[in-house]
């Protein structure tokens, strides 16, 4: 005990250092003699030895503390050991750390040159890392804004804004990719800058009527509102710009003597941006997933998490603190109630179970009916819109705009109504609160993403044709001579409409509501109150927009730029709306579970975006009248064509990889590895459980023996041994 001298120590530290085996906390209640034995137990000694040999941090701290307080210098055989922890990670006050540092520097005299060099180099390396991290954090976009949001509204809402920032960066990178590899060469070679030129090879083995494509381009005198309409719908003068697929009707670009294969670049850049998004999202979610997986208890149920990590120390506002207290109380009460409910459920009778299950099946049928209703209405709206959008002369300008935007309007209303219906229905299904929230969220996600799928499906049903004439082209050449541009225009309209709706909701719903609640003192209005910042709704909104961007970028290469600007503006709109028109959430979502959930849904959106893109690229014939893939049957066909120009060896290798003889065994082996890791994880978990039980029984044994020992000593009446 002598190495733990006086000094400003709390009893907690002494106890913790003394009781090496952590099973001996109640030793204080026993007499001194049994405690003395603890130091002599072989298990304790070997733990000490093992920890000292491995340079355990705790042991070092014990030593450091003792040395700092007692100001004794022991020449350590391995003087470099203590310098291995950076000073700033020691759990002592600044004054003590200063003493330790002075002692360390004094000890340098005792250590050999090699240890000294090792220590100083590791110290400077750590300091360099710290400086780099500091520098890189300065360059983060919106660092100060997100910090202040976190301070005022907590970490749950802050995670939404960091997610938004992530999407801005992702879209910006996508734009850079598409711009530099597709748009820039096309523009340069079209205008002949830098001694470049482009070649357009006319297709040779297709019917001539397939290749007729005359976009209107607004020649001659047009009304002003035509420009506005074109801006909003992507037709007219926008159709022939760089924005859409139709512009890139170039088969190769020549820069002096270098040949730039633009079609191949177009396809490969598409794959590149999809791969970039995929990898980046997975990388970001791996860290969050690790936390999620650490223990598989339901996150909503972990009491220790709520009690020890419940208070958000960032809160500075007294009102926010009051609300946080209330929400914590509410959360704890609901969870305790849920636990009691769970016990009640476990005691349900057979009759009750039958009733509940049949009710759930019935409600799921209603949900499916609602979904089918949404899908059918989207299908009809798309078909109607496509059929009637070219009748400009018959209907007026506004009506035509309405018809053009009909699919977007229907999708947005479906996205708005369906979640309300789901949250109404789920109350009848009698699930636990946590599961209710999850199930509603899953249903809403499904609605939003499936709506986009249905839209695309209806578009393709329009493009597809049946009679023999257009079978030669493979698509409906009369209505859609350049069908990729048409799809691009739909995606463009969806994106713009989504953006306008967000702005409109903020301007025309949130702010008037706030004004009403502030200045009108009617009971009804006050009860209606301000709206909360619904994190999941907002996140689903932006994920929906991002999915559209992913699908649409193949058909409209500059869409990521529009998406970047859109999310950039949305950040400020949401921030202003949050600060001025929202009340704090009563049931806050925890930051940890939300981070992982957002990324998981985003990943689902990305994978869902693969499907329509895959179908367009590989199955549907590319249009013969425009675009870089005129000479090929499908957009994908350029890849086999390019491979045929490779050397024979490489060709054989690539064919080998793509064949079934390779793919099937590869898949089987990958599955084997996956099963192995799953089994390993399961085994580890079981071992951990067993060890925990063992710990408990061991500690009980020791307590039992200690009691017996102290009894025996008392009975024998021997004087207690003085502690050495």
């Amino acid at each position: 005990m002598s190495e733990f001298g006086a000094g400003a120590e709390l009893p907690g530290w002494v106890t913790e250092s003394r009781s090496r085996g952590e099973f001996f906390s109640p030793e204080e209640s026993h007499a001194a003699a049994p405690a003395g034995f603890l130091q002599e137990l072989p298990s304790y000694r070997s733990v000490l030895r093992r920890r000292a040999a491995a340079g355990d941090v705790q042991e070092r701290w014990g030593n450091l503390r003792g040395i700092a307080s007692a100001e004794r210098r022991e020449p350590q055989p391995d003087g470099g050991e203590r310098g291995a922890i950076p000073l700033w990670e020691l759990p002592f006050s600044i004054a003590e750390k200063r003493r330790i540092r002075d002692l360390q520097q004094g000890d340098i005299k005792y250590s050999s040159g090699w240890n000294h060099w090792k220590r100083t180099s590791s110290k400077s390396w750590k300091k360099a890392l710290k400086d780099i991290k500091e520098l890189s954090s300065y360059m983060q976009l919106w660092r100060h804004d997100i910090h202040s949001i976190e301070g005022k509204f907590g970490t749950g809402i802050q995670s939404y804004f960091s997610f938004l920032r992530f999407l801005v960066l992702l879209n910006f990178l996508m734009f850079i990719l598409m711009f530099s590899f597709v748009t820039l060469p096309a523009v340069i070679s079209n205008y002949g800058i830098f001694n470049s030129s482009s070649t357009k090879i006319s297709p040779n083995n297709t019917e001539p009527y397939c290749t007729v494509y005359t976009p209107s381009g607004n020649k001659g005198l047009v009304y002003f509102y035509t420009y506005l309409k074109d801006l909003l719908t992507g037709t007219g003068f926008l159709e022939v710009t760089v924005l859409f697929y139709g512009y890139y009707t170039i088969d190769a670009a020549w820069f002096s003597v270098l040949r730039y294969n633009l079609p191949l670049a177009y396809l490969l850049t598409t794959f590149a941006y999809l791969a970039l998004s995929f990898v980046w999202i997975i990388k970001r979610s791996v860290e969050r997933f690790r936390q999620h997986l650490v223990h598989d208890e339901d996150q909503f149920q972990s009491y220790c998490n709520k009690v020890f990590a419940g208070w958000d120390f960032c809160i500075t506002d007294l009102n926010a603190a009051r609300l946080k207290h209330r929400s914590l109380l509410y959360e704890l009460q609901t969870n305790l109630e849920e636990e009691r409910l769970k016990q009640k459920i476990a005691e349900r009778t057979m009759k009750e179970k039958l009733r509940i299950y049949s009710l759930r099946i019935f409600i799921n049928i209603i949900v499916i009916a609602v979904l089918s209703g949404c899908f059918y209405s989207i299908y009809r709206a798309t078909v109607f819109s496509q059929e009637n959008s070219s009748n400009i002369s018959i209907v007026g300008f506004q009506a035509n705009l309405l018809v053009q935007y009909l699919p977007s309007i229907v999708i947005t209303s479906a996205n708005f109504i369906a979640p309300q219906i789901f949250s109404f229905l789920i109350a009848f299904e009698d699930y636990s609160a946590a599961f209710e929230i999850r199930l509603t969220l899953i249903r809403c996600v499904f609605v939003r993403l499936a709506n986009v799928g249905v839209l695309l499906f209806s578009l393709w049903s329009q493009i597809h044709c049946d009679n023999d004439q257009c079978k030669a082209c493979g698509y409906d050449y009369e209505l859609y001579p350049c069908w990729e541009s048409a799809v691009g225009q739909e995606m463009y309209k969806l994106l713009i409409f989504d953006f306008m709706i967000i702005i409109a909701m903020t301007l025309f719903v949130d702010f008037p509501r706030k004004l009403l609640v502030t200045y009108c003192s009617w009971k009804l209005v006050q009860w209606w109150g301000l709206q909360e910042f619904g994190i999941s709704d907002n996140v689903l909104e932006i994920i929906y927009g991002q999915t559209i961007c992913w699908i649409g970028t193949f058909f409209s290469p500059l869409l990521p730029a529009i998406a970047t600007i859109k999310y950039f503006i949305i950040f400020y709109i949401k921030k202003i709306s949050l600060i001025h028109t929202r009340k704090p959430a009563s049931r806050p979502i925890r930051a940890s579970s939300s981070n992982f959930f957002f990324l998981a849904v985003l990943l689902i959106g990305l994978i869902l975006a693969f499907v329509p893109l895959g179908v367009s690229i590989a199955l549907i014939s590319s249009s013969k009248a425009c675009g870089p893939f005129r000479n090929f049957n499908t957009s994908w066909a350029i890849v086999p064509y390019t491979i045929l120009e490779f050397p024979i060896g490489l060709q054989k290798f690539l064919y080998g990889i793509a064949s079934e003889a390779f793919a099937v065994p590869f898949f089987v082996i990958a599955c084997l590895f996956m099963f192995y890791f799953i089994a390993l994880a399961g085994a580890h978990k079981r071992v951990v459980e067993q060890l925990r039980e063992q710990l408990v029984t061991e500690s009980r044994d020791k307590l039992f023996l200690l009691e017996k020992l102290s009894e025996a000593q008392k009975n024998s009446g021997k004087p207690q041994k003085a502690r050495s």
Partner: protein, 213 residues
Amino acid sequence: MGGSSSLLPQEALGEYQELTFLNKQEILLAAPAPGLPRALPHGGAVVFASSSAYKRFSELLPREQRENACSVRVPKSQILTLPELRANPFQHRICHVFSTSEDGDDSMSFEDFLDMLSVFSDAATSDIKSRYAFRIFDFDDDGVLDGKDLEKLVNCLTGQGEEARLSSIEMEQLIRNVLEESDIDKDGTINLSEFQHVISRSPDFVSSFKIVL
């Protein structure tokens, strides 16, 4: 802001950077304030503070003591006026844990203040945070968290006032659940290792145990 040219010597700044998790900006902002630099007696270069830790700390002192802010202790009542601590239910425990005052009056010097900011900063490791969290939650300072500590902790969380408390049945149920999840050796208390173990499984701890100036 204004013309308060409080001085923090360069070496002290470097030393504090080395001994804490804070970076230079968080300790002070090195933008020169209006006014000429004055040479200290020992000739060290001086840096002006215009924001963050040093400035906030010296604002807590009465005017005449601001010159030597580094060596003065601020009484607890003043510390509790900081907005970051004002709304915090653990304010008294925080002052108690970080204060190195021998009188036991929980007054804090500038170094204690820096200590506190360092532990609560973004860059601090979860190990450090969990150690200090354990000390803060240990209301009776006996080195373990027992039922009484947990009860006081939960009462702090739910707020002041009679209607903001859990009923005794709920409190018992809650404490039982917490101990079931975290008490490995089943002795009815949570010691530091058990606390750190349960914190390592808690994903929200690092993001909520944070104070940003």
